[in-house]
């Protein structure tokens, strides 16, 4: 059951932000800006999936870009071998990534915490090794080209402003899907597993099945994100889906906040644009990311958005209390 008022209040800000972002092409932004925004958006789609897995279910995956890779390679292979375009690739890649996600999820039934994080990290590396050694089929270390453009109703969506709008549309769908999951009884079940696995089982919840289910859901998001990436970059290679990009994804979802709907959006935008805004080179930005991660874990364990929300309620409480405290003498007792 969806509680209409309170849950709509969490969706509204996200939709407003996305609506504003959809207006950006009207101001004829630079191609550099649009490219960055598109990459950020593609990441955000995967982040919404990761937030179901990490934020709701409490399982951290450090191999998540491997699933994005499954989506991207599925799209590239479908285009090369079967002449299948973007719109069919989306569901196929979603399913493929979901299947691989379910397989990654199986060890989570026996292993948890840090140990499982290490396993997902290893899985990410394994995926890169497989893609690199796939011979002509996966294009080896140099990867695959994507020969097809995205078309819709006969129109070519390849121009950056149009592709940007396509990505914003997919981000919106991802946000709404994630919102629907969070506010359903299914989302509650996942949170129960996050909070107390033993008790969840005692109440009749099949913990294992729901953990795998969360992997499958996050896999679908990652697969869709991968298709968009393949069609955007026009060339994909194994290095893009190794463990380092996975760490960036985990970083984005932690910085933004995994449990709130605005979190993935904020995290994806911040991490993508911060180096650009501050004019940092790649080495400096890696250092910045490291500092950010430590700061967020220490001071804002629920992410930036939750931190801002907490700060806001604290301020509101303080401003309410100040006059009242003046009326009540302190030595009242």
């Amino acid at each position: 059951m969806i509680k209409s008022v309170s849950s709509l209040r969490s969706l509204a800000p996200v939709l407003i932000v996305l609506l504003l972002l959809a207006l950006v092409p009207l101001f004829s932004p630079s191609n550099r800006f649009l490219s960055l925004a598109i990459s950020a958006g593609i990441n955000i789609i995967a982040l919404y999936g990761l937030s179901v897995l990490f934020g709701q279910t409490g399982i951290l995956s450090m191999g998540h870009t491997a699933l994005v890779g499954v989506g991207a390679y599925t799209a590239a292979l479908l285009a090369r071998d079967f002449d299948i375009g973007f719109w069919v690739s989306i569901p196929v890649a979603g399913i493929m990534a979901a299947i691989v996600a379910a397989i990654i999820g199986i060890p989570s039934l026996r292993v948890s915490g840090h140990h499982f994080v290490i396993m997902t990290f290893a899985f990410g590396q394994l995926m890169t090794i497989i893609l690199t050694n796939g011979g002509d089929y996966t294009g080896g270390a140099s990867g695959l080209d994507m020969g097809k453009p995205v078309t819709m109703f006969g129109a070519d969506l390849d121009a950056l402003p149009r592709f940007y709008l396509l990505v914003v549309a997919f981000v919106t769908i991802s946000a709404v899907a994630s919102w629907a999951i969070i506010n359903s009884s299914y989302g509650r079940t996942l949170r129960a597993i996050r909070e107390n696995e033993k008790l969840a089982a005692a109440l009749g919840i099949n913990v294992g099945r729901h953990k795998i289910g969360a992997f499958i859901v996050s896999g679908v998001f990652a697969g869709v994100s991968g298709v968009l990436l393949a069609y955007f970059l026009r060339h994909i290679s194994p290095g893009q889906f190794a463990s380092f990009p996975s760490i960036y994804l985990a970083l984005m979802v932690m910085i933004g906040g995994a449990r709130l709907l605005l979190g993935p959006l904020a995290g994806g935008i911040l991490v993508s644009f911060l180096p650009e805004v501050l004019n940092l080179d790649p080495v400096q930005s890696r250092i910045l990311y490291g500092v950010c991660l430590i700061a967020v874990i220490l001071f804002l364990p629920n992410g930036l958005i939750a931190g801002i929300a907490d700060g806001w309620t604290w301020l509101a409480k303080m401003s309410k209390r100040t006059p009242a405290a003046g009326n009540v003498p302190e030595a009242g007792r």
Partner: protein
């Protein structure tokens, strides 16, 4: 009175340590049974084997005539056996209402239609924490947390409730309130098995007691008789008073 849960010859070994050495115990419909014993006597192991946390080394657990030995934990509650934990009673990061909603949503819908507390609100009312519905469970005082744990176990619509040290950490007033709630269960078709070593609580709650020591049952019968059993006095007090 018919037997609800029938435990026969239950053994559990952890490596070379025998935690349970062949326990026979029957829980009857409509009773409140107490299982007592000193620390390390096997009470919690018994609880864990019945609720599917551990698989038994030997022996059977029969529920309403059906063999349920070693079935997984989440199947236990679906069969109508609810249980509470000593620790980890609730989902700390979720609100009290969400806690109970989760438990209600996963109760086997077919289990019992005649249940006295079908909704989350009615459960919170019954245990007396309705005013805390929108608080995070993690900030509840300990007494309220115990009551929430009880509400969660009740929400699965059980025919039998297993309570593992339900009054641990409660003060006298809170314990009395808990006893008042548990005593109402048999009238609502919920039999109870309480595991504890608090004799005062057991005397208030249970008409029948079973005593464990070193993994064996050394006494089983009406509470008053068991408390005067020389073997029980030996275990508890080191001999005759």
């Amino acid at each position: 009175m018919s037997v609800l849960l029938d435990i026969k010859g239950l053994r559990k070994q952890f490596g070379g340590v025998t935690a349970l050495s062949g326990i026979d115990l029957a829980i009857n419909e409509g009773e409140i049974l107490g299982v007592v014993g000193p620390n390390g006597s096997g009470k919690t192991t018994l609880f864990n084997v019945v609720t599917g946390v551990h698989k038994p080394t030997a022996g059977t657990v029969t529920w309403k005539g059906k063999d349920i030995t070693g079935i997984p934990a989440n199947q236990i509650s679906r069969n109508g056996i609810g249980y509470t934990f000593q620790q980890a009673m609730a989902f700390p990061g979720l609100t009290v209402l969400e806690n109970v909603q989760i438990a209600t949503e996963h109760s086997a819908a077919s289990a019992r239609t005649d249940f006295a507390w079908p909704t989350p609100a009615s459960l919170l009312d019954f245990v007396g924490i309705a005013d805390l519905a929108n608080e995070k469970a993690g900030i509840l005082p300990f007494g309220s947390l115990r009551l929430l744990g009880l509400a969660l176990a009740l929400a699965t619509r059980p025919s039998l409730l297993l309570l593992d040290e339900p009054a641990a950490g409660l003060n006298d007033r809170e314990t009395a309130a808990l006893v008042g709630l548990v005593q109402q269960f048999p009238a609502h078709g919920i039999s109870v098995c309480v595991i504890d070593h608090d004799m005062k609580l057991m005397q208030m709650l249970c008409k029948r007691l079973a005593v464990l020591d070193f993994g064996s049952k050394i006494a089983d019968g009406p509470t008053a008789d068991v408390l005067h059993d020389p073997k029980v006095l030996e275990v508890y007090l080191g001999g005759e008073l």
